[in-house]
Amino acid sequence: MSEVKIITANEAAAEAAALCRVQVIAAYPITPQTPVTEELAAMVERGDLKAEYLTVESEHSAMASIVGASQVGARVFTASSANGLLYMHEMLHWAAGSRLPVVLACVNRGVGAPWTILNDQQDSISQRDTGWIQLYCRNNQEVLDTIIQAYRIAEQTLIPVMVCYDGFVLSHTNMPVEVPSQDEVDRFLPPWQGQGLLESGRFVNLNPLILSEPRPDAQGNLMPGYMELRHRLHEDVLASLAVIHHTDEEFQEIFGRSWGGLVWRYRMDDAEHALVSMGSLALEATRAADSLRVQGLRTGVIGVRAYRPFPASALVQALAAVKTVTVFEKDVSYGYAGALATDLKAALFDAGVSVKFSGFVAGLGGRDVAAGQIVQAATDAILNEPRYGWVDVRGSST
C-alpha cells in the first residue's frame, strides 16, 4: 500500500531511488543536494537498500564511477547541484555518448562565481547540450514520480535522464508525498538487465577512437562514423519525446497520477495569454494566472516538464490560440536571453505562429519570486511592447 508522508523533495528523491532498486550509487555532497546522498548512505548502511554506495572524491568521479557501473549492467543513481554538476560536465557528455541509462537528480542551485547556495536553474540549463533528457518538477510528489519514470525512459531509450528540482524551494520544503509501495514500483519498473556487454562473451572496445567517415568492421560491415553516431543520438533524443509522453500515461495507469508528460496546462482552455515556465516557478505562475484573470486578462499557464528533448510541437499546439506568450525562467544565456524563451520563440517561428512574445529572467541566486511579481511583469508584457527583461532587479549604489 502506498503511504502519504510529509517529506522534502530530497527525501522524495532518495525514496524514489530506493524504490527503483538502484544497485550502484556514487555521490559527492553539495548543498542543497547533500541530504539525498546522506539519506541514501543511511539506507544502504541500515541494510534497507541493497546497493553499492561509493563515497567518491569528486563529482567527476561520481559520474565516472556510475558510468562504469552502468557499462557493466547495473542500475545507477547520483545527484548533484550547481558547481558539482558543472564539475561533472565532461562525464555528462560521456554518459550520453556511451548511451547509458543513468539517472541523476539535479537539485537546482545558482552557480559561482560568486558563490551562492540558493536556487536557480543555471546549473542544469548549462548542461542542455550534453545529450541528456531533462525533466523539471513542480512539487515533491512529481520529484518522486519522475525519478521512477526516469528509469523507464532511460532504460528504454538508452539516454541518461536528469530530473531537476528547485534547491531549497522544493529540496528542503516539507509537503505531502504519496510514497508508492515496492510492489507497485516493481510492476512499473522491471529489473534492469543491462546492455549485455559482458554476457555476449565477446571482446569489445567500448567508446574507442572513431573517424569522421564510416568504416567497415572486420567482417566487412560498414560501421558508422562519429557524425552518424551523433546523428543517431540526436534522433533518439528527439524520439524520446514519445517515450516520455507514454511513460507518464503508463505511470498513471498504475499509480493514478499524471504529470502531463511533456508539458502541462493550467486554465488554458479559453486563455488568450499564456505564461510559460519550468519547475516550481511554473506553479507560482498558476497563481499569477488566477490574479490576471481577476484583472480581466484571460490567462493560463504552460509548464514545460521536458526541456530536452524540447517538446516543440506540443508547445506550438498548446499555444496556437493565444495572443501573447510570456516566459519566466531562472536562467539566462548571457548576451542573449533566457534559454527557454529563445527555444520556444524558435519553435513558434518554425510553426508560423505569430504571437506577442516576451521573456523574463527571474529568481536568480535565491531571489524570491512571488505571484505578484509575475503578475506585474506579465501585465506589462501583455499590455505594452513585448520584450526580454528581468524581474526584480533593484538599483544599487555601484
Binding site: Y28, P29, I30, T31, T34, T37, E38, A41, A42, E45, R46, T55, E57, S58, N83, Y87, G112, A113, P114, W115
Partner: protein
C-alpha cells in the same frame, strides 16, 4: 628562533569580530595564528569552497584583513600557480601566496591540482586545515576522516578506512618544506608558518583543526582535543626541511617522555566515535602506534 611564550606573538589581529565560523573553531584559530605569522608583508590567500569561504563573510562585508581570492573547490593548487605566475608576469614583487584549504579540498577533490602545483615547483605555501571531514556541507566523510568516526555519509557503520597518508604523498613531490601543526600548539604553528614564509618553492603545512559540531565535543574542549590528538600520536608535530626530519614541540617532548594517552582517551570525548567498537579502537591505536613509531624512527635518523 623558536617563539617561547604567547606574549611574544604579534598582537595585531587580522580576523576581526563578525566572522561567520562557529564558536570555538579550530580552523579559525589556525588561520588566526597563520596570519599573524604571514604579516607583516603582502599576502594573497586563495581559498576553495569550504568553511573558509563562510569564515570570510558574506558580500559585501568581510571580517578578514587580507587579499582573499575565492575559488572553486577543486582548483586550489592551480589557482595558486596562476596567481604566482601572474605576479611574476606583471612584475609585482614581494607577495606571499598562500593556499588555505580543508582536508576535502586537499586529500580528495583538490589533490590533482595540488600535486600539479607541487610538481611545478610553484612558489607558495599550501596550508591544509584538517578538520577530518566535509564540515561546510555538514560533516560528510572525507578521506581524512579517521576510521571509526560517524559522519553523515557513514552514519551507521562509521568510516571503515583509515585516514589517507597525505604527508607521504606530499613528500613524494620532494618539496623544500613540509610541516604539521595544531592550533592547540599555537607557538609551534606560528613558527612553522614563519619558517615557511622565508623558504622559496612549494611549502606544505598540515594543521589538525578540531571542529566542535563535526566531531561532537563541547566548545570548551577545543584546545584539549587538539592536544589529545598529539599526545596519542594520532597527529604528530614535525618538520621536514630539505629532507631533514625533526619532531617539534609537544611531539618532541613525547619522544623522550613517551606517550601517556591512548586512542581510547581521545575518542571518548567525541560523539562522532559514539559507535566505535573495541576492535576499531584497537585498530586505531595500532594506526597511531605505527605512525608514531615511524616518525620517531625518522626523528632519530634525522631524515
Amino acid at each position: 628562533m623558536a617563539t617561547k611564550a604567547a606574549k611574544e606573538l604579534p598582537r595585531e589581529e587580522h580576523i576581526l569580530p563578525g566572522s561567520r565560523s562557529c564558536a570555538a573553531c579550530g580552523l579559525m584559530l589556525t588561520y588566526r595564528h597563520a596570519l599573524k605569522a604571514l604579516y607583516p608583508g603582502k599576502v594573497i590567500v586563495t581559498v576553495p569552497a569550504s568553511c573558509m569561504t563562510v569564515l570570510h563573510g558574506v558580500y559585501p562585508i568581510t571580517p578578514v584583513k587580507v587579499v582573499c581570492i575565492n575559488n572553486t573547490f577543486a582548483a586550489t593548487g592551480a589557482s595558486a600557480s596562476g596567481i604566482v605566475a601572474g605576479l611574476k608576469a606583471t612584475g609585482k614583487k614581494g607577495y606571499t601566496v598562500v593556499a588555505f584549504a580543508g582536508d576535502g579540498g586537499t586529500y580528495d577533490i583538490g589533490i590533482q591540482a595540488l600535486s600539479g602545483a607541487l610538481e611545478r615547483g610553484t612558489d607558495f605555501i599550501y596550508i591544509c586545515y584538517d578538520n577530518e571531514g566535509y564540515m561546510n556541507t555538514g560533516t560528510q566523510r572525507s578521506s581524512a576522516s579517521p576510521a571509526g568516526a560517524i559522519t553523515t555519509t557513514t552514519p551507521i557503520l562509521s568510516k571503515l578506512q583509515q585516514k589517507k597518508d597525505m604527508i607521504a604523498i606530499v613528500e613524494a613531490h620532494r618539496i623544500p618544506y613540509i610541516a604539521t601543526a595544531s592550533p592547540s600548539f599555537p607557538l609551534d604553528l606560528y613558527d612553522k608558518v614563519r619558517t615557511a614564509k622565508e623558504i622559496r618553492g612549494p611549502r606544505y603545512i598540515e594543521a589538525h583543526a578540531p571542529c566542535p559540531p563535526g566531531w561532537g565535543f563541547p566548545n570548551k574542549d577545543l584546545i584539549k582535543m587538539g592536544k589529545l590528538a598529539v599526545e596519542t600520536g594520532l597527529h604528530v608535530l614535525f618538520e621536514i626541511r630539505e629532507g631533514k626530519f625533526g619532531l617539534t614541540s609537544w611531539s618532541l617532548k613525547l619522544a623522550s617522555k613517551g606517550r601517556k594517552k591512548t586512542v581510547a582517551d581521545y575518542v571518548k570525548g567525541q560523539t562522532r566515535f559514539r559507535k566505535i567498537t573495541a576492535e576499531q579502537i584497537d585498530r586505531l591505536q595500532s594506526f597511531a602506534d605505527e605512525q608514531w613509531n615511524y616518525f620517531l624512527e625518522r626523528h632519530e635518523k634525522g631524515c
